[in-house]
Subunit: 402 residues, 2 copies
């Protein structure tokens, strides 16, 4: 029989009852004859508790030590889940990131997986053990502890599925799959049975919180079927994220809302060759990811450059830019945190030029101001005021589906 | 300059304020030019919290997974202390047990240190870092996580001091050294400036909670000066545990009380060669340590054998003995948990035959019944009823020192 990787997030393993629920899902797969590898996150609010312990000391902890701290959360979960499975009479064994090891680069708090040694897992699977792995963590080549950043346990799970050539990777969450948009905004919104990696990637980057883009990227690169489903209810089988050949008849596959953005505007940048490069090179060196960039066509002596970043990078971004304002050759740096990004994703979009117009029409009809617009082959994103965001999602949804 | 190892227990690192207090002690030593290696325990009640998480699931967790769980406590402390020192402008770096590594046997929850790789510590000391090590933990030769059992962080500290050939090992605690007996029982009791390893060992085994006997054994074997002192008050310099040449003039160096004992009596053991061996061999195989043994002189067909153990081994001991009652050739196994062991320790004792008599006299004058008595070269222990224990300590103290 084949290998299945199952990943359970923090809310799915939050207490003893939840651990037993998860153990039942695992043993069901195991008793059906599968070899099961389980990846878990830290329990419930454990990580938040660790973060606030660090925050009590400093707003800016040395990242090496911060990762030593955060990685304890998943280690607690693996041992408790192994105990539950043992108690249920199953053979189960846990491994931390370093025990395999999972080797990453040394970009603390946002490390990327370079290599997973699968030998200990295969050895234990062959001895009929259920193997439980701590998500979110690894070590660099000097055996320093690293963590993978937001959505890190999903990334661990899909990377393991790829390494083990697993039949599939099941990501258990508190909703029964991927929906066209947030069911909290629009009731009875359609659940997708399947979605392509490309669309899922755009949705992930656009702020849909179901899957982190890094895990989808690995899935796409290594052709891992990722199944998103509910750990709490007997669902419809969730949503399969997979390679899709027949994309022609697809249209819009998601509308996402992202609150976690800040917009930076650099005022009065001299219109000289290399200025833009310089700015984004400075930010890249600090590992700050840039999302939407808007730069006017350079016809004047000066220009204003705007772009969006995640809120957690705001402080660092402002520091870097203000420290280097002379090098950049700019007059001022401004920012706004009260904006929201609405993204509409669909592989069919590029061949349906009317879609953008229809989106703008929906927003116009509801008096919603657009602050920035970007388009890619399969995505259109607009920035709107925070208070307009939910109406924006609903108006776009209704325009296309009612 | 030389290397100093400083160990801080759970109550000394319980919160942010305590961590700053500890960091001040560390930086003082560092600023005096010493190379400082710090060993810490889990914060305050952290370990208790982890234990109860496991207890919610099972009374008898698989020990491999239990150690995975418990070892997270110290990992949290090392990262937080490193952050505090960093915040204070010092270079500090943390290492877990596996990162050095500290290699132990695979006797989970009570593992013994076999070897410590000091290379990473020396490298960081040479770069002027303060090096912070997680106490209580190690890994076996297959990279499974192990913990060292009660007093494990003391053991880590002294083993590190031995391996690093440190000038001294400072054990910080909430009292200012080793006292003749528990200051909670007798106020203004004398603090010892120095004590030999042998006496400290007897006191540790006798239940004085200042130092665990395993750390004293390592100190003795490798000639490490161990200094016990307070982390909270500017004390008198604490107590030095060290090799002592001139033992002649010593007398009594401690009176200890141990509540954590259970007495087992095996009834009606056939008086045949090898029976006693068989019993203690069975217990040794389960890693159960035996303390006082009383076996009557074998003149009858049957005999009763009594011995004491730690309370936490009671359940297992009864299980082992009852399962093997036919092999042992006994009629019944009984136990009592309501006894206390009072021990009087002093290297001078053996040359002062009147001491035992004086102890018995003190107890007799206070109507205290003695249930078992054992004597070694430097220790006399008696079992008394739980409710008599404090009066016993006080009466012995007063007999000798008033």
């Amino acid at each position: 029989m084949g290998i299945i990787v199952q990943k359970f997030g923090g809310s799915s393993v939050a207490d003893k009852e939840k651990l037993y629920n998860v153990a039942n899902i695992i043993t069901k797969s195991y008793d059906e004859g599968n070899k099961v590898v389980v990846v878990v996150s830290a329990q419930g609010k454990t990580t938040d508790g660790l973060v606030s312990k660090a925050k009590e000391i400093t707003d800016n902890p040395f990242k090496r030590e911060y990762d030593v701290l955060l990685s304890t959360g998943e280690q607690i979960t693996i041992s408790l889940l192994a105990m539950v499975l043992n108690k249920m009479g199953k053979k189960a064994v846990s491994f931390t990131g370093w025990q395999l090891p999972i080797i990453t680069d040394n970009n603390y708090s946002n490390a990327k997986i370079k290599y997973i040694d699968k030998s200990r897992i295969l050895e234990k699977l062959n001895e009929d053990y259920i193997v439980i792995i701590a998500g979110f963590q690894g070590i660099d080549e000097n055996e320093n502890i690293t963590t993978l950043g937001r959505g890190g346990s999903d990334t661990t799970a899909v990377a393991l599925a790829a390494t083990l050539e697993a039949d599939r990777c099941e990501i258990y969450t508190d909703v029964d799959g991927v929906f066209l948009t947030d069911p909290k905004i629009i009731k009875d919104v359609k659940k997708l049975d399947e979605i392509s990696y490309e669309e899922m990637l755009e949705l992930a980057t656009a702020g849909a919180k179901v899957l982190h883009n890094r895990c989808v990227e690995i899935g796409k690169k290594r052709d891992v079927d990722i199944i998103v489903k509910s750990s709490l209810e007997e669902g419809t089988g969730g949503t399969v994220v997979k390679h899709q050949d027949n994309l022609e008849d697809m249209y819009i596959s998601g509308i996402a809302k992202d609150n976690n953005i800040a917009r930076i505007t650099i005022i009065g940048v001299e219109n000289k060759l290399g200025r833009t490069y310089k700015i984004f090179d400075l930010l890249a060196k600090e590992n700050i990811n840039i999302d939407i960039i808007v730069q006017p066509i350079g016809e004047h002596f000066e220009k204003d450059i705007s772009f969006t970043i995640s809120k957690e990078n705001l402080k660092k971004t402002l520091e870097v830019l203000k420290k280097n304002i002379d090098i950049i050759g700019a007059k001022d740096v401004r920012y706004r945190e009260d904006l929201c990004k609405i993204s509409v994703v669909g592989v069919g979009m590029i061949n349906n030029p009317g879609i953008a117009a229809k989106i703008f029409e929906a927003l116009y009809e509801n008096n919603i101001n657009m602050h920035m617009i970007t388009t890619s082959e399969i995505k259109i994103s607009v920035l709107v005021n925070f208070e307009d965001a939910d109406i924006a999602v609903k108006s776009i949804h209704d325009k296309f589906f009612l």
